[in-house]
Symmetry: C2
DNA sequence: CTGTATCCTACCTGATACTG
DNA sequence: CAGTATCAGGTAGGATACAG
């Protein structure tokens, strides 16, 4: 229970500074959002994710999935088979994040050319 | 539920692998989204941003702003005064990203407790 | 197939000093 | 005030090798 100590006429700021930072430290890393977005269509195996994301290292996929499972955004189901099969799937909580990820992805796809153009000319 | 015939129609993946990665490498870093979100209310000075974000180092604020300006998400306006005054403001493009940032921030605030709970119990 | 362990590099961080 | 420069220390991420 944090007391809200807002300035009377202060500038409109993200009135948190904590929660957002905290969560952004979790899902704001290089891969988490991409993994969550990739899992939006249903359960996927480790190898499938690795191929789908393409660019992620095995190590980072492992770590990212571990964190997502810890945070309750993804479930891990290991089947006692040979060869081993492990499936990952977004939880209810994770699924609630999917629309935001997709919105971000769409924004990225819609604007990456414009961003690239800006970067290239550098000096207008 | 019927079996999902992923094989036939190809797996449901983010059909890009490039643009999203590219943009996420830009704005998906630790600070960019936070800066953009902080600027949503109007122009702010360097020092204001530094205080508002609280936790960012001067170095990273400088770098992040530089990148955002390069990407065309933020404008930098220096006033030839003494003492110097520099204001940063989101561009049209940057403003189009604000709603997504805020949605993410709201999601973070709404769910960070649940995430924290998951993390803490660790083993269900 | 699904990870884990190790090494190595690049980058972030915080502090400090200095410039315009 | 608004940066730039630099250094020491930590951490994130990639590559590879190896294990269950």
């Amino acid at each position: 229970m944090a007391k809200v100590t807002r300035k009377a006429a202060g500038p409109p700021r993200i009135r948190d500074g904590g929660a957002v930072r905290e969560v952004l430290d979790r899902i704001g890393d290089k891969w988490s959002l991409l993994v969550v977005g990739t899992l939006r269509g249903g359960p996927m195996r480790f190898g499938e994710l690795e191929k789908a994301i393409a660019g992620i290292s095995q190590r980072m996929l492992t770590l990212t999935l571990k964190h997502l499972v810890e945070d309750g955004l993804v479930t891990r189901t290991a089947y006692a088979e040979v060869p081993p099969r492990v499936e990952y799937e977004v939880t209810e909580l994770g699924r609630s994040l999917v629309p935001l990820v997709m919105a971000l992805a769409e924004w990225a796809m819609a604007n990456h050319e414009q961003i690239d153009a800006h970067r290239r000319k550098g000096s207008a």
